[in-house]
């Protein structure tokens, strides 16, 4: 176990988030089983009041969850000096078999938590609990994943020993490195550039169309999520090469370091923020006709679409700026 303040904070956050997630999930099951808005029974009124408490708790808890993703990658980057062979967070995460699964799960939970917060925000604005069942069904998906994340994080930090010799990012994210990360790094840069800019363009066009006309929400949401995945692959395939100005260094974590102006945080924050907002547009689509939300959802969706467009635009501008002004030229 490593007793580093940020690592302890992350473990505490994970335990807090998963504990309260399970508490909320327990009431979620009760709500799904017993919710009956037509009834004025004591049990129903008690559940209605309980939902305010759970909603407030989960707002804060999942807010912490969103921030903890960035604290986790910061911590992983910060700890790399302890391990022989590690040059950045890539090496720290590879010190045992729980690091990368924990990171992947944190990304998944980040997206789910973001979507839950959007659904919760909209539900709270309706006066008749319009999305209560959807909200708690989603929470019952998120809660076990939060628990699994806590288990992985505890296992990861508990299994860290300072004398471990780990791999450096150069070997983990190299064409010859094999594995999923190696495969992503080996993706040919020209097709990936076409896919990346096409994805951004389609997201932008469908987003502007949705903003102006209020139609095509599913298309926009799908494009936004697909572009998120393509953009992550593109970071490994070609984007990071322009920042490092090295044609063979594909590490997505070195971007988080001071030597590159911490640009990785901006890139990943804009990408993940845009993806969550884009997913939120799609998730809200089926509920546009719900009586008490008829005026609320379209406004919220337009705001979310704006967030995605601004985030993705910022991401693209940074990438294009670096592609133009980098000393590296890819053939």
């Amino acid at each position: 176990m490593i007793l580093q303040p940020a690592a302890l904070a992350l473990v505490l956050i994970a335990l807090l988030v998963s504990g309260l997630g399970i508490y909320a999930g327990y009431y979620g099951v009760r709500i799904l089983k017993r919710w009956d808005p037509a009834s004025g029974s004591e049990g129903q009124l008690e559940l209605e009041r309980r939902t305010y408490l759970i909603s407030t708790i989960m707002n804060y808890v999942l807010g912490f969850e969103l921030m903890s993703l960035f604290l986790f990658i910061y911590t992983a980057d910060d700890l790399h000096t302890l391990f022989t062979g590690a040059m950045c967070a890539a090496g720290t995460l590879a010190v045992n078999s729980f690091g990368y699964p924990a990171l992947l799960l944190k990304i998944v939970n980040f997206l789910l938590a973001g979507v839950w917060l959007i659904v919760n925000h909209v539900d709270n604005r309706g006066y008749d609990y319009p999305l209560i069942k959807v909200k708690y069904e989603l929470l019952n998906v998120v809660a076990p994943l939060l628990l699994l994340e806590a288990v992985l994080l505890v296992a990861y930090f508990a299994g860290i020993k300072p004398d471990i010799i780990t791999s450096c990012c150069g070997s983990l994210f190299s064409h010859e490195g094999g594995g999923f990360s190696g495969d992503l790094a080996a993706l040919p840069h020209r097709p990936m550039q076409i896919a990346f800019f096409s994805g951004m363009a389609l997201t932008a066009v469908s987003g502007v169309w949705f903003y102006l006309k209020g139609r095509g929400g599913y298309f926009f949401s799908s494009f936004a999520f697909a572009t998120f995945l393509i953009a992550i692959a593109s970071v490994l395939s070609f984007i990071c090469l322009y920042f490092y100005e090295l044609p063979t260094h594909h590490c997505p974590f070195c971007l988080l370091q001071a030597g590159y102006g911490y640009v990785g945080y901006v890139l990943y924050a804009t990408l993940s923020g845009g993806a969550v907002a884009g997913l939120g547009v799609g998730v809200l689509m089926p509920f546009r006709q719900v009586g008490s939300l008829v005026r609320i959802i379209p406004v919220t969706q337009r705001r979310l679409a704006s967030v995605t467009l601004v985030c993705y635009l910022l991401f693209t501008v940074i990438v294009v700026w670096k592609m133009i002004f980098s000393a590296l030229r890819l053939g």
Partner: protein, 242 residues
Amino acid sequence: MIELSGITKTFNSGLSNQFTAVADVTLTVNPRQITVFKGPSGSGKTSLLTMIGCMARPTSGRIFLHDIAAAVPFQQEGADSLEITSLPERFLNEIRRSTFGFVFQQFNLIKGISVLENVMLPAYPTGEGRTDFRGRAEGLLEQFNIARHAGQRVELLSGGELQRVAIARALINNPAIIIADEPTAHLDSKLSQEFMEIVGRLKGEGKSVLIASHDPIVYDSPLIDTLVEMRDGAVIASRSCR
């Protein structure tokens, strides 16, 4: 119209000192009428009016407000009734401000500020322009013949004047329903009669007035339309006085 369905209010539920203030009350209160809730102290009148006025929630049961859609800005178009017991607090704030006016037994006016400011207080959170509601407040003080006291601090007024300031304050947001809890408890007979005359005028203007009282001047008044008798938290009789 206000519809109450199986309203129960229990304090300290599950504890040794559990107390049921209102027990399974089902009742319909007609609009644009004066409804008086009569009963001894502890009969549940105040608790019931508090729940109708969105200042407390029942332990069980539902309260529906019918035909007040215009006063509830978030209500969906076309809906003619609203169930209020399930609403989150911020929605209840909107309803309290726009739909109900309250006259309390102790008047609850704010000492140290003027009569005019006291009357204007409930209008500040609505976001309406100050000039607009100031004009309305001055009109109400004029209507209740206390305009000459507008600039005075409330602690300098007599009981009857305080009562009229409290009524003016209850009316500042032009509510559809006025709730008065033991409004004549601190008034002599003449002032109590005067209060009932004002209530009669409000009814004439189309307001619904709900009064909790055990004062015969109130419940024997020829102006009232419905008398609801309560005891031990339950409604024991409800009759039309017309």
